[in-house]
Homo-oligomer: 384 residues x 2
Amino acid sequence: MRDVAVIGIGMTKWGELWEKSLRTIFTETALLAIDDAGVDHIDSMVIGCMSSGLFTGQEHLASLLADYLGHGPVPAVRVESACSSGGAALRQGFIEVASGVSDVVLVGGVEKMTDVSGHEATYALGTAADQEYEGFHGITFPGLYALMAAAHMHKYGTTREQLALVAVKNHHNGSFNPLAQYPFEVSVNAVLNSVLVADPLRILDCSPITDGAAAVILCPVEMAKKMNKPLVKIIGSGQATDTIALSSRQDITWLESTYLAAKKAYAMADKKPQDINFFEVHDCFTIAEIMVMEALGIVEKGQGGKAVQQGLTALEGKYPVNPSGGLKAKGHPVGATGVAQAVEVVKQLRGDAGKRQLKGARLGMTQNMGGTGGSTVCHIFEGR
Amino acid sequence: MRDVAVIGIGMTKWGELWEKSLRTIFTETALLAIDDAGVDHIDSMVIGCMSSGLFTGQEHLASLLADYLGHGPVPAVRVESACSSGGAALRQGFIEVASGVSDVVLVGGVEKMTDVSGHEATYALGTAADQEYEGFHGITFPGLYALMAAAHMHKYGTTREQLALVAVKNHHNGSFNPLAQYPFEVSVNAVLNSVLVADPLRILDCSPITDGAAAVILCPVEMAKKMNKPLVKIIGSGQATDTIALSSRQDITWLESTYLAAKKAYAMADKKPQDINFFEVHDCFTIAEIMVMEALGIVEKGQGGKAVQQGLTALEGKYPVNPSGGLKAKGHPVGATGVAQAVEVVKQLRGDAGKRQLKGARLGMTQNMGGTGGSTVCHIFEGR
């Protein structure tokens, strides 16, 4: 296997982009990444997208995007793993470069979610759960995470305020990210008094519905060294699945797929959780970030809520989590999220993160999750 | 890169499987492949599926299928490239084994198409075209291929009877395939007098709407040699894209993505078209097989119709095409088709193809196409 580097990143402003179609959003973003990499061609494209079929009535997505990007006839394929589609695309691109099949691979993630009604969007997102055993009975995604939150509060004493503090932290970080959908601060009181979605989760516990894309350019490390670029390597990649339905799990307060995917990524990188300087994780709901920190091994089981309260994961904490603002403030165009996490990690490792720049960060990790943890993809990046 | 072998294949009866859900169809098929390979574990799963979202309201498909197959927590990812989703999944699995990331990879393809109305199925299939520039104006998939057929007839003098002869040949082959959806003969007269769908294409020029799955198990050749199995190697893999909309093409009688994907596969395998003993190709409509033969280099441009008439591609011809019965007779569960082509090639190379067995076949090739040729994936297999 060849060593793999990230030599280009691209991201545009996320939000409700009613004036732009899926292809436009992707193309603008991908061109930024190609420009940043300074390459004059790409060998292949891998696109993460959860449900362009249900959101926009368009499948055959990778071919369409290769065509509109002006890079057809390169091989192009779409990868789907619900909300971890972007991370899964990054992994396929990583494998393709590592294998020697392709040298320069564009990995993109994209989702156009606001062209349908709220009801249709909720339905489309629900297809990440088990439709026959969960969706059929009427439960929505916030409903499933509400069950996990309630169980975590009951089992470990996690408090409503601790959940709110995740949103407060991520909106604080996001206020320094001009590309975020909601780049503003929220207070604990605002979260606690926001509209109830699925008890105990309120609207400010939930990541938003977003249009957006993100892209990275991968190539072999040997090739990257010859280009005059700050070198960021992917030194670990891990992926795992879990039961898709919550009802099949032994313990709905534990994210086994995240634990296993991280374990594989740590093993490939030959690192421990404590070696990693910062994390971009899948905070689709506030409770998710708390559970992810536990599964990644940053804190002990059940201690995620306390850790947030103590500032461990703040921008200036020992293990900053979601310096970008996370899904919560940055937005969550589901197929793009996993790639955007990589974009943030590379920005931090290059020292290009502006007002949210972490000092001395050399190792960053991404954790991108599908459904209620039915799938997870983790990557570890090394800078300098 | 490591050399890659196919050590297990699985396929079940295709048709309108109203009594089985998507997960059941896939699981039964995958278990056959695992059993055939004689492996006690798999390292990873890659699933080809075009539109489980629109056909069954289920995304996050690979996680679901890993779970129901009882092989979670292995990494599992879905790959989408419209009707070439299966071929694209095979290529990702090939790359994953070649890279060294995984040893034993299950590549599956599946589609459950009959749980929706005919109108909804036509809509879902139409998402393989450019929805903004083609679908929006009301054209369907048969309509797009009808344009290609009319142009080919006009430019090269291809006749209505030659189109019919593709269906006659493939149904003849399919009559020897007990797993085919329509394992019976049709006559030229039957095709010519069948219901008009989109002039000049009639219903017996069209592949059917099908529920079905197919699966193969891949591993490194070195590992396969240690198992007491007939050795089938994948010696070539090529993928390419073309403009997604017909209106963007210079010449709608030419399949550039097939030409380019095949060229790459031939180059990797160090073979010429004339070296290949037989082909499994994407005959979604009769005109498609004629155009594919030309793009693969089996015949000159414009000579596809005559070649069928002369028996070149018959079971006993010089270059048999679609010994399985093709999409036309075997059925076309879109995401499964590309994997099922590999299943047939391996059966032929093992000498296990029953009444349709080709004598002395040592090299077989698959060509799997998305949309109107917006994407193509080709593989070359070597037996013995």
